[in-house]
């Protein structure tokens, strides 16, 4: 169980700013990572993440903890709705490396960080080719850190359906990445 999905902490966070602060710091990285992989643009990811936590701060007192994973499912349902709401608005189409969010790996050398951002962009574009449901599932799984059972709760579907979608989505992504690398190799060979 995630220690921050603890009923007592959530209960305290409803009235105690320090408990809320702990909850915020525990979940912000995951929510941000999930949102950032859905929208790619750092500024948009920040706006949406801010909306999510403002909503959490407004509504936490009404939240009822109903067992392990309930908070995560509730939190990411808010995040998922916020992303969907954002997608309905017109937004920037062309993505530049400078617009992308920071990545956890960027403690490394600038060159490595640059390559990682390119890698992020490649993955983001690959994920964009998946169906909306599979995009949700992959990002909730890898960036939200949710287990299949909790993803199922967020999306209101069966856990086995989540597993099936996830498996197919990863296969598709795997193939796309292999094709992308092949194209890159061909391009490099052509330049030699």
């Amino acid at each position: 169980m995630n220690p921050h999905d603890d009923a007592q902490l959530i209960q305290r966070a409803k009235h105690d700013p320090e408990a809320f602060r702990a909850l915020y710091h525990a979940w912000l990285p995951r929510v941000f990572a999930y949102v950032a992989y859905r929208v790619a643009v750092r500024a948009d990811a920040e706006d949406i993440t801010a909306d999510v936590f403002m909503q959490v701060a407004r509504s936490l007192r009404q939240f009822e903890h109903r067992g392990e994973g309930a908070f995560a499912a509730w939190l990411f349902r808010i995040a998922s709705n916020a992303v969907v709401s954002h997608a309905r608005r017109p937004h920037q189409r062309e993505l530049l490396l400078d617009d992308l969010p920071e990545l956890s790996s960027e403690q490394a050398t600038p060159e490595r960080a640059y390559l990682d951002r390119e890698r992020f962009l490649r993955l983001y574009r690959a994920i964009q080719t998946l169906s909306p449901r599979r995009q949700e599932i992959v990002t909730l799984r890898f960036f939200g850190g949710l287990r299949n059972i909790h993803i199922a709760e967020v999306l209101g579907i069966d856990e086995r359906t989540v597993a099936a979608h996830l498996s197919r989505a990863l296969n598709d992504l795997q193939n796309q990445l292999a094709e992308a690398l092949e194209r890159q190799d061909n391009h490099d060979d052509g330049n030699r």
Partner: protein, 433 residues
């Protein structure tokens, strides 16, 4: 239920390698906002964070409006370099200031939204600002997210005149003194008279708006000028016309824009180079432009000084692309480096009084991938030279100003820009004998 990660080691590895993370400033800012929200009565739909929206709106609208004005001006000024004397421009209203009809209003600092930027206590007198009011609306239609915040621009004509403390009442008694036209004073007074919980004020830097005529003129002496170089910095507020898409390294013409009589311009030099675009001191989102005047070397300092003197006296300027014949045949690239990316910037800046040539080293911390999840990590340092014998055109005296470096090749300039873009650090090593 079987988890599927092990079936796809490559793609899952790739996904885990590129996890986005929130920036530290954002994390802190949002933390304050949510805690503030938590403290509010739960019936309220007010969202302190969302009050920042106008900041972005303003940021998007003002450049667009400014770009429109500049585009019009650029067409009219296209023949500038061919015009030896003053030249009539147009009847475009360049300055919205209503000189002579202003009034002051004192507003408790506590009435400003905590997210208001900048902190008025640190804003230089004379800085133009926009004043917005964020009010808990009654009767407005909620937006798509259900928020019922009505944000209104009350004055696009205000100037910070200062801050004064009212007796011994401490911070609660600190008053911001704002100057604006009389109509806006009356409107703002009505908002100030309302209950603080119902209406909060937001002050935003007025990016791209010329300072009203009643504004004090600030000088932006925030950089150290190596001897013998004709450098001048102009605040964005002192530039009435700015050519589109100017970037660091461009050659420009500087002209005086005479707004008070016939809206005419007076060419000052056709041979200056834009060597840095910096953030204006203590005024986030505002910019200043550092220019190096390259006229006859013997006269460059005099020309720069003259422009600086005019700027202090309140002149407005036009910054336009230089005519091709003024651009020297060999053009060395210039990059601008914010001081925050330079290690020990102040000491290095001081050293520039003696030596204006540096080698540029890239310094990066790294953590062994195997240690990333460990409780204690031992970061390593990689240092690599990326440019040699760069000439320092301008070195900052304060953190907010930027360095301007002239490089021997485009490759060196690209390498430096890449490090800055990726938020790496640079060490500038003086190389004078």
């Amino acid at each position: 239920m079987m988890e599927t990660d092990n079936m796809h080691p490559d793609v899952t590895h790739e996904l885990r390698r590129t996890i986005p993370r929130p920036g530290r400033a954002f994390t802190h800012e949002l933390e304050q906002a949510v805690l503030s929200q938590l403290a509010q009565p739960q019936t309220s739909q007010k969202s302190p964070y969302r009050r920042r929206v106008p900041r972005w709106t303003v940021g998007r609208l003002i450049p667009a409006a400014a770009a429109l004005a500049v585009a019009a001006a650029a067409i009219l000024l296209a023949g500038l370099s061919r015009a030896p004397a003053t030249q009539p421009l147009s009847q475009i209203p360049l300055n919205s200031a209503s000189a002579g009809d202003s009034a002051q209003l004192q507003v408790p600092l506590s009435r400003f939204d905590v997210w208001a930027l900048p902190d008025l206590r640190e804003v230089p007198a004379g800085t133009p600002v926009d004043i917005w009011v964020s009010a808990l609306a009654t009767g407005v239609v909620p937006d798509a997210d259900g928020a019922q915040i009505d944000t209104t621009l009350v004055s696009a004509d205000a100037v910070v005149a200062g801050v004064r403390t009212d007796g011994n009442t401490g911070t609660q008694g600190t008053l911001a003194v704002l100057e604006m036209n009389a109509g806006d004073v009356a409107a703002l007074s009505r908002w100030v008279a309302m209950d603080a919980a119902s209406a909060r004020l937001i002050v935003l830097p007025a990016v791209g708006r010329p300072a009203p005529a009643y504004a004090l003129t600030e000088s932006y002496q925030t950089w150290r000028q190596p001897p013998g170089q004709g450098i001048v910095a102009l605040s964005r507020n002192q530039i009435a016309f700015l050519a589109n898409d100017l970037i660091v390294g461009d050659w420009v013409s500087i002209a005086e824009a005479r707004l008070e009589s016939n809206m005419a311009v007076e060419p000052l030099t056709d041979r200056a180079r834009l060597i840095s675009i910096g953030r204006e001191f203590m005024t986030p989102n505002a910019e200043y432009y550092v220019l190096q005047v390259y006229d006859d070397p013997a006269l460059a300092n005099d020309a720069a000084e003259r422009i600086d003197t005019m700027a202090r006296a309140g002149s407005q300027f036009a910054l336009l692309g230089a005519p091709p014949e003024s651009v020297p045949p060999v053009e060395l690239p210039v990059v601008s480096v914010p001081a925050e990316f330079v290690i020990d910037a102040s000491a290095t800046s001081a050293a520039m009084a003696e030596c204006a040539v540096v080698d540029v080293l890239s310094v990066a911390l790294y953590v062994d991938a195997a240690e990333v999840d460990a409780e204690q990590v031992s970061p390593g340092v990689t240092i690599g030279a990326i440019a040699w014998r760069a000439r320092v055109l301008a070195a900052p005296l304060v953190q907010e100003a930027g360095w301007a470096l002239e490089l021997a090749s485009r490759q060196e300039a690209d390498a430096i820009e890449r490090v800055v873009r990726m938020r790496g650090m640079l060490y500038l090593n003086p190389t004078c004998p």
